[in-house]
Structure formats: C-alpha cells, structure tokens
C-alpha cells in the first residue's frame, strides 16, 4: 500500500523522538528496511497494474486531497528508499564515535521526518499540499545541514533556509495565481481547466522560479556548495541525492502534468535551457579549481543539476514525439544516476575525512593504499558522473545527446560534450591525489566495514542501473499519469 510509505517514516520519527537516544538508530534502521521493502512492493504493483490514484479522507478532489502514484513517483520513491537505506546503514557507524557521537540523537528524528516528507512529495496531487510538504522538507533539511553546529555550517544552513523560504513564498504566490485562474487546487482539475492569459503566465513564472531556487539552478546555486559541504557526510548525501531532487520532481510534475499554456512555457523553457547549460559549465569549472574534496563534489552537484534542465527546451523544440520521450527518459536517468553516484561520493568522502581528519585533497595521499575500497568507490561513482559506459550516467548522457542532435539545437550539445570533459578532469584530480604515495602522511584511522560497503553499493548501483534501463523506461513511458507526446494535456 502506498500510504505505508508515508506512515512508516512518520511513525518512526515520532517514536525516535520520544524514546531515549541510544535506541534511536535501531528504530531508524528498522524503518529504513521497512520502507525499502514496501517501496519495492509498490514498484511491483505499479509495474504490473498501472497507476494508482487514492482519495484521502473519503472526499473526491477538488474538495479533498488525493495521492497520485505513477511511474515517475515510484522511480523517485525507489531512489529515495535505496539511498535512504544505505545512508541509514552508514549513519549508524558514522555517528557512533568521535565528535559525531553527540549528533546521533538529533539526526534520526529529523532524517525520518525528512524521509516522510519526501515520500509524501512524490505522491502529491494537490498544489497546496505540495507547499506544506515542501516546507516540511526545507525545515528538516536545513536543521540537518546545521547538525555539525560549527559557525560555517550554521551560516550555510541559514543561507540555504532563507533561499528555500523565499522559494516557498514565491511558490505560494504562484499557487494563488493558479487558484485564481482555475478555481481549484487539485492537479488533475487544474490541468483540465482552461489555461491562458497573463494570470497563467505569472503562475508558471512564479512556480518555476520558486522551485529552481530550491533546486539550486544557476543563478540560485550559491547556497548549495557551502550547505552540502559543511554538513556531516550522511547529511550531505541526503541533501544532494534526495532533497534537491524533491523540488526538481515537483518542477517535472508541474511542467508535465499541470501546465499546458504553451507560449509562456516555451519562453520559460528557453531560459531554463540557458541556465542549465551555464550551470553545467560553471559548476564543472568551479569543481575543477576547488581544493577540498567535499567542495569539489558539491560544485559537481551544481553542474549535474544543469543537465536536468536541458530537458525543458528539448521538449518544446523537438518535433518528433519519439525523441521527446527519449529526452524525458534521459532526464530521469540522469536524476537517478546522479543521485546514486553523488550519495556514494559523499559517503566515500566521509570515510576519507574520518580516516585522514581533513578533506583537503593534498592531504589524502596514499589513500588508495590504506582505503582501497573507498578509492574504488570514488572511481566507480566518478565513472557514472563522467558518463562512461556501461554506467547509468552513460545511458542518460547518450540519450540526451541523441535527442539534442535530432532536435537540431546544437547549442545545447555544448553541455554534455564540454561538461563531460570537465567532469573527467575533476574526477581525475580527485583520483590522482589518492594514488600519490607518501609514507610521511598522517596516521590513518580505520573505517568501519559497513561504512565502506554502503558507499560501494551505491556506486555499484549507479553503474549497474544501466542494465535495468528497459524496466525504468517502461515505468517512465507506460506508467505515466500524463501524456508526454500529445502536447502537455493530462
């Protein structure tokens, strides 16, 4: 049952808030296991039986609120469950010793609340409900980003939170405009209503603006590198793999399920495309010149988010429905592979920091010798980010490039080509520093078996998802609650 995916994390969050601190992690791990199992189960149901739409409280929309579970929701739910389970496993050992131990009790309730919020977001079918869920996610994510408690992480968290709040308010104003035009809050009803004129134009602008602030698309990317790099390793993984994907998911929902005001969307999509290409190049360049490992990975997020937005101009400029579908699939592939690879990178970076005490790449000499598995994880995740075959990143970038070339929008091709080269450059910069052998290096601490393994599994998954491409494409193309190829009508 899809409702379980909302109920389990929230119940676990409450439970972990009221019980003594030392038991919290076991509640968290149990909940993570249950969520993983029930999302796999839901996946099977959606795959075989088709999409589900559930009314809540016994009231039909537009009066009540509904949940909408389609292929897109289930893919994001699975991504969250996979990354979430591995991160939970990792966190049990990460927060068990040293200076991280005092953060343990605070981490679990917040993380479980965040997880519940993310799952509710993926099932969202009501625009105001989306606002409330977004706020739940923002507050818990910002509190997690401040978990370290030092000055720089507090500042980073507040910078993130202020932007997220400004985004929420803009989004809320957009909801008001949609409501003024269509008189409804239910996505299906709004999609079926007439959408034209300045009211809808403003609504599309406000909603998109509010959400890209939260997704950290250039020029609203400035909060991301500090917030993601200052947080503890599991939190960085959650923030970059899942939280920004949450608001991106909502952009997809709005653009492909709700809006169909073609003219406003055409112009906005051009802007999004330009921002996307800029983000790819600027983010990769910044990643290349950083000297701290977590900063490199965080700037890499800025650039990888850019790829996602190349979808929008392609959708409006390519004439062939087949290539539209390809571009759509490519975008979701990119989301999944980036989520898995980035989570793996941050977890591996956490291992390196616990081992060396710093994440300055100059001081990570001889890591390949002392932590071979973590180095291997960095390599695998790097392969996926660069887009080398057979990784998921390769499938995504290959399909993206194909649909760019068939649509004739050559300027968009700069992003995958040049961006791929820059990505390769910063990944090699990280890897090469780990292979420098230096006997005088600082004493390395041992890393727990599970911490290394969970990072490795995520990296492996990001490579291996390429082999499951068919099933994912099926979910994306046959289990949609909206019709991609025939205009943007519901």
């Amino acid at each position: 049952m899809p409702e379980l995916l909302i109920l389990i994390p929230f119940s676990a969050a409450i439970l972990s808030f009221v019980i003594p601190e030392k038991f919290r992690k076991w509640i968290g791990l149990t909940a993570a296991l249950f969520i993983l199992v029930s999302s796999l189960d839901l996946n099977k149901k959606i795959y075989t039986n088709g999409i589900q739409r559930l009314n809540l409280g016994g009231w039909d929309p537009p009066l009540g609120i509904a949940l909408n579970i389609d292929g897109l929701s289930i893919i994001f739910t699975l991504l969250t469950a996979t990354v979430g389970f591995m991160v939970s496993l990792y966190s049990i050992w990460y927060f068990s010793k040293g200076e991280q131990a005092e953060q343990d009790g605070y981490f679990w309730p917040l993380w479980l609340l965040l997880w519940g919020g993310l799952n509710s977001l993926y099932f969202v079918a009501d625009i105001f409900n989306a606002y409330v869920v977004l706020e739940l996610i923002s507050i818990s994510a910002a509190a997690l980003a401040a978990l370290n408690g030092n000055a720089s992480s507090l500042k980073a968290a507040l910078r993130y939170f202020l932007i997220a709040m400004a985004g929420s308010m803009t989004f809320l104003m957009g909801i008001g405009f949609i409501f003024a035009q269509t008189g409804s809050l239910d996505m299906q009803t709004v999609a079926a209503a007439e959408q034209h004129g300045p009211l809808m134009f403003s609504a599309i602008g406000l909603i998109t603006l509010g959400l890209i602030m939260k997704t950290a698309l250039v020029p609203f990317h400035f909060w991301l590198p500090p917030a993601h790099s200052e947080a503890p390793a599991p939190v960085s993984a959650i923030l970059s793999a899942l939280v920004i994907k949450g608001s991106f998911f909502l952009i997809l929902r709005f653009w492909f399920c709700v809006f169909h005001e073609a003219q406003a969307m055409y112009y906005t999509s051009l802007l999004l495309g330009v921002s996307g290409v800029t983000a790819v190049l600027w983010g990769s360049y910044q990643a290349l010149i950083q000297s701290r490992l977590k900063m490199i990975i965080a700037y890499s997020s800025v650039s990888q988010i850019g790829y996602l937005f190349i979808l929008f101009p392609l959708m409006f400029m390519s004439a062939d429905p087949y290539w539209k579908l390809e571009a759509w699939t490519a975008c979701i592939f990119q989301t999944i592979s980036h989520g898995l690879a980035k989570a793996a990178l941050f977890l591996a970076a956490g291992n390196l920091i616990q081992s060396c005490g710093t994440d300055h790449i100059k001081s990570m000499r001889n890591i390949a010798g002392s932590l071979p598995m973590t180095t291997f994880t960095l390599g695998l995740a790097g392969v996926s980010l660069m887009g080398l075959p057979p990784s998921g990143g390769f499938v995504a970038k290959w399909m993206l490039l194909q649909s760019i070339l068939t649509s004739g929008q050559w300027w968009l091709a700069i992003a995958p080509v040049l961006g791929g080269l820059l990505t390769a450059a910063y990944i090699f910069k990280i890897l090469s520093s780990t292979f420098v052998s230096d006997q005088k290096g600082p004493q390395k601490r041992n890393i727990s078996f599970f911490m290394e393994k969970s990072a490795l599994i995520l990296a492996l998954l990001s490579i291996l998802m390429g082999f499951r491409a068919e099933e994912i494409s099926f979910l994306l193309q046959e289990r949609m609650s909206f019709d991609l190829s025939g205009g943007y009508l519901p």
Binding site: S138, N150, A151, S152, L158, R159, F161, A166, T170, F179
Partner: protein, 105 residues
C-alpha cells in the same frame, strides 16, 4: 476599483517589497522580517480571492490555506531566528558575509 482590486494589488506590492528587502538587507534579522512581509503579501492575495468568490459564501478553502500558512510561517520564522542567534553566539556577526570562522579560534 473594487475591494478585490485594491487588496490584490496591495498583496502583490507587499510581496515584491518583501522580496526586494530580502535581497538588499545584509542583516539576518531584517531578512527574516522581509520574509514575513512576503508571506503577508501571499496570504493577502489568497484572502482577497476568497472575498472575491461569486459563490454562495466566502470561499473557505483559501482561508484554511492561510491559517495553515500562518502556522508554517511562524515555525519557519522561529527556526530561522534560532539559527541567527546561534550564528551571533558563535561568530559575533549577524550577517552571512565575511569569514566563516568561529569566534574563539
């Protein structure tokens, strides 16, 4: 000129004033106040819609939305203010520019 027109325009102006203030003010406390001004604008727009409703009574849905929104806004405000105080305690600053170092080291 109707009541709806007056209040919806006011709402839009308040929203934009808040957004502008958020962008220009370096001080964190003032940024948070500006966020609340923005929220006031968004709420006012929703309520003016409810007032404008041609149905049998005031539309209760935007009213319920605003009540929910007020709770959310006060939660977010208090959380942001708490972060502000901690930053002040740690760094002695109330803005996000400049060095990110702790006060003691």
């Amino acid at each position: 000129m109707t009541t709806f027109a007056i209040y919806s325009i006011t709402a839009v102006v308040l929203f934009c004033v808040g957004l502008m203030g958020l962008a220009v003010h370096p001080n964190l406390l003032r940024k948070i106040v500006c966020l609340n001004i923005m929220a006031g604008g968004a709420f006012l727009f929703l309520i003016s819609l409810a007032y404008n409703s041609q149905g049998p009574e005031m539309d209760p849905v935007p009213q319920a939305m605003v009540l929910t929104g007020i709770v959310v806004a006060v939660s977010a405000t208090s959380f942001a203010l708490c972060l502000t105080r901690m930053i002040k305690e740690r760094t002695g600053q109330c803005h996000l520019e400049g060095s990110d170092k702790d006060k003691d080291n």
